[in-house]
């Protein structure tokens, strides 16, 4: 009995702010099963707990942090250039309810 349900999948989609078709939902369920099986394989690998999770592929010897200077600001026009939903200075959206 699978622990993954199509309701759960729909909820994940909802939280990601999109909708799935029934077909897509089924495909995801299948893929979950595969992942689950593979994860069990992974958990059988020796020394797993002792290994640090790798977050970056390369350790850099030196990283310089940035100086506190202002540059490369976009113009207001540029900021608003990719939408029609705007005023002179702002982006407009439907009223956001708290």
């Amino acid at each position: 009995m699978s622990k993954f349900t199509s309701e759960a999948v729909d909820k994940y989609a909802k939280d990601l702010l999109f909708e799935l078709s029934k077909e897509e939902n089924t495909m995801v369920l299948n893929e979950f099963e595969i992942i689950e099986k593979n994860m069990e394989q992974i958990m059988k690998l020796p020394n797993l707990k002792e290994t640090e999770p790798m977050t970056h592929p390369i350790e850099l010897e030196m990283t310089l942090l940035r100086l506190d200077e202002v540059k490369d600001e976009l113009s207001v026009e540029e900021v608003l250039s990719n939408t029609e939903h705007k005023t002179m200075e702002n982006i407009i959206v439907p009223k956001v309810v708290e």
């Binding site: 999109f18 999770p53 990719n82 982006i91 956001v96």
Partner: protein, 471 residues
């Protein structure tokens, strides 16, 4: 050493541009390689760079100011960036001429070239076959001879696999050698800028012009001491290479196809060529259990990072505004209509493995396996100069059969190149031979920052193999 870019130095630049324009339009008609073609591209003032007035194409996930950039996704239809990717900026400075933004798998997620919003890219070798992905259009353009070079991106093998399917060179440098600023991200810790060319020398020349530390990208590093084309001709006798026997031994395959048999035999032939060049080739072993986890480790990490990276696509500031009365509705509408099914599936998986209660078991364990395989490779590279492996278990699949559905039995042979992304190792595909009238390639990988050595070995091998690309 062969080089289209060096040959082009003597050509009259306006004529070259016209020729490439004509070719790219043809390639577009044949293979559907381009999202946007810049038909009014003109020659510029000559610079001292080898790339001056050399036409090229850019995968459509590189930000180009004033030119539509879509990552082959409907969520970015008509998006016109107000800034340039560093790679594009640097190419502009060399005087290279951008001819087109090429088709890709949406956001880089895919290995077939079939998920882009303007349709499937066909392989110029056989129009019924895929060009591979996700840098499909870039590979098709170079393979057809339309342009001397193309820029792509490689997250799991997305420059190196299409290169193999299309019989060209696909080079993924060390992570951080080339700036990712302006590259629309798929999985930030796995994404690399990659170069596609006919010959190794050209890949070295292009990479050399665009590499270098970038103040916009904290993961980039100072490579001013590295001259990529400088060691190409060096004699490689004495160089030590290894292959992973679990991947190349036919006994490890339960029901090998005839094609697979041929591919693995041809691989052995390549090893002989290497030995004739004076190199030593040895077999190394990595536990099959570990190798078989690689595809799911990749899916886990890449989907998780992708879920986060694609959260900015809401249609509020850019991209087509969704319909609806509330802000939630317009965002859901934008994303539901804008993302292809594959993207949605990957995002859900990514979200799932990052959930608080799942993260340790899925995401962090995947990161641990990543560490393990990378550590093993580092240990091998202490003794060996490079790793050599076949690129794929087959020639380019037919379009009708290709899809990106997750399969239970992923052949490691299909997916080992992801090791190059896990550890940021420099890795390159060069075409090696023809099987069933389609090209196949071999893949070389070296230790981090050893790009010069990698290109050297690749170049000498390329010369020896003398691949006759029949296009």
């Amino acid at each position: 050493m062969k080089s289209i870019i060096l040959d082009a130095q003597k050509k009259e630049k306006n004529a070259l541009l016209e020729e490439c324009k004509k070719n790219i339009l043809e390639n577009q008609a044949q293979c559907n390689s381009c999202v946007t073609i810049i038909e009014d591209a003109t020659t510029k003032k000559e610079t001292s760079s080898l790339l001056s007035n050399i036409p090229y194409v850019l995968k459509d996930n590189f930000s180009t100011k004033g030119i539509e950039t879509t990552a082959s996704s409907n969520t970015l239809k008509n998006y016109i960036p107000p800034y340039d990717a560093t790679v594009y900026d640097r190419l502009n400075q060399t005087g290279a001429i951008l001819l087109a933004k090429t088709v890709m798998d949406e956001f880089g997620m895919g290995g077939t070239g079939t998920t882009g919003h303007t349709g499937t890219v066909k392989n110029p070798w056989n129009l019924e076959c895929i060009a591979g992905g996700s840098s499909a259009g870039s590979a098709a353009a170079v393979a057809s001879g339309a342009v001397p070079f193309a820029i792509g991106s490689d997250t799991g093998d997305s420059v190196r696999k299409p290169a193999a399917y299309c019989g060209i060179v696909g080079y993924k440098p060390t992570y951080g050698l080339i700036s990712r600023y302006g590259l629309i991200p798929f999985a930030s810790s796995l994404d690399h800028v990659g170069i596609l060319t006919k010959y190794v020398q050209d890949a070295a020349i292009v990479a050399n012009e665009i590499k270098g530390i970038d103040s916009h990208d904290m993961t980039s590093w100072d490579s001013s001491q590295i001259e990529l084309p400088s060691q190409l001709e060096k004699d490689i006798s004495g160089k030590k290479l290894f292959y992973i026997k679990e991947i190349v031994d036919i006994e490890n395959y339960q029901n090998p196809t005839e094609e697979l048999r041929i591919i693995l035999n041809q691989f052995q032939e390549v090893l002989k060529s290497l030995q004739e060049l004076g190199a030593v080739v040895e077999s190394k072993s990595i536990s099959k259990d570990l190798l078989e986890t690689l595809p799911s480790v990749y899916t886990c990490i890449s989907s998780a990072e992708a879920t986060s990276n694609l959260s900015n696509l809401t249609g509020i500031i850019y991209g087509p505004r969704g319909e609806g009365k509330t802000i939630e509705e317009i965002i859901v509408n934008h994303r539901t209509n804008g993302f292809s099914p594959l993207i949605k599936r990957r995002l859900i998986i990514g979200s799932y493995v990052l959930q608080k209660e799942n993260q340790e078991k899925y995401f962090e364990n995947a990161q641990r396996v990543r560490n393990q395989i990378v550590t093993i490779m580092h240990s091998f590279f202490k003794e060996y100069d490079a790793c050599i492996l076949p690129c794929a278990a087959s020639i380019a699949p037919k379009i009708a059969n290709a899809n990106d559905e997750m399969k239970q039995d992923f052949a490691v042979l299909e997916n080992h190149m992801v090791i190059g992304n896990f550890g940021g190792f420099p890795s390159i595909t060069i075409p090696s031979s023809i099987v069933s009238n389609m090209p196949i390639g071999i893949n070389l990988t070296a230790e981090q920052k050893e790009d010069e050595k990698l290109l050297n070995i690749a170049c000498k091998l390329e010369e020896k193999l003398n691949f006759k690309g029949g296009l």
